[in-house]
């Protein structure tokens, strides 16, 4: 803790608390779901590597193919997939 915080008063505590409003809930939720999204991404890439027809579907319409495969086409998954598919 910095020396400025030593002997802090209530007014200062209130001012500091105001500096940290919550981030929008949807943003926090999306960030918390990253591990699941990451796992989903890995599964989709593995499937695209093994299944040429699925790969073609992804190339034709990424979001629709992801949804049709039963996955949530979140922005993280779509952008990650777009990046990874270039390497497949």
């Amino acid at each position: 803790m910095s020396s400025e915080m030593n002997g802090s008063n209530e007014e200062q505590i209130g001012r500091l608390l105001r500096l940290l409003p919550p981030a929008p809930q949807g943003w926090v939720r999306a960030a918390q779901e990253l591990p699941a999204a990451r796992a989903m991404l890995d599964e989709l890439v593995a499937r695209a590597e093994q299944d040429a027809a699925f790969r073609l579907q992804l190339q034709a319409d990424l979001e629709r193919a992801v949804a049709a495969a039963g996955y949530e086409p979140s922005p993280f998954v779509i952008s990650g997939l777009r990046r990874l598919l270039k390497a497949v």
């Binding site: 803790m1 910095s2 030593n6 008063n9 500096l19 409003p21 943003w27 939720r29 918390q32 990253l34």
Partner: protein, 198 residues
């Protein structure tokens, strides 16, 4: 935890976590502990959000892009962190760099998007670090103080809204805020004494 609101989930995660150091939390995240990752995002979301909004004055949409990118990179690169204790400055640096990248990208289209002065951002980071210490103290004090102070100072809710939400008379909110602030101050003073070399 399916079917719960994000606040309910956050509270459970927070209450389950006996106050852990940043290093302990990072170590659990590296082991693939999903609850630890939830707690990590919960602990640092306000910090990252404040750097984007207050430090670099990014618009909401641009802040959201940076916010998600910060946590995506943090998730993928936690193993690169040299010292688990250094996670907060590491996140601050990462957020700062991504905000600058975003502003530079925006300024190609809108030349008026100016980067803030480095010193301004350094000052803000100093204050945000103090604010994080206050939040940690607030978490230790726990509810109902945590809820009341968060609603009043961080969510800017009126006495009436707080009273209605928590089912307490609006006329008592001011005195509750005052008592809760005293508790947080006492907690901070205790921490400060404990961290002083004897």
């Amino acid at each position: 935890m399916t079917g719960m609101t994000i606040r309910q989930r956050s509270r459970i995660v927070r209450d389950m976590a006996v106050e852990q150091t940043d290093a302990q939390l990072v170590s659990r995240c590296r082991e693939g502990d999903v609850d630890a990752w939830n707690e990590f995002v919960e602990r640092f979301s306000r910090y990252v959000y404040a750097i984007c909004g207050r430090g670099f004055r990014l618009a909401q949409q641009d802040s959201e892009d940076v916010f998600q990118e910060v946590f995506a990179r943090a998730y993928e690169r936690l193993s690169d962190l040299r010292s688990d204790d250094a996670v907060r400055p590491w996140l601050a640096q990462l957020t700062r760099r991504l905000c600058i990248d975003k502003l530079r990208l925006l300024s190609r289209d809108t030349p008026s998007e100016a980067e803030p002065d480095d010193r301004e951002v350094d000052d803000l980071l100093g204050r945000l670090n103090e604010a994080m210490a206050v939040r940690a103290a607030l978490d230790s004090v726990g509810d109902p103080c945590r809820e009341i102070l968060d609603r009043f100072f961080c969510r800017d809710e009126s006495y009436r809204t707080i009273g209605d939400s928590l089912d307490i008379p609006a006329g008592t909110i001011a005195s509750r805020i005052s008592r809760c602030l005293e508790k947080v101050r006492a907690e901070l003073d205790g921490r400060s004494r404990a961290s002083r070399p004897s």
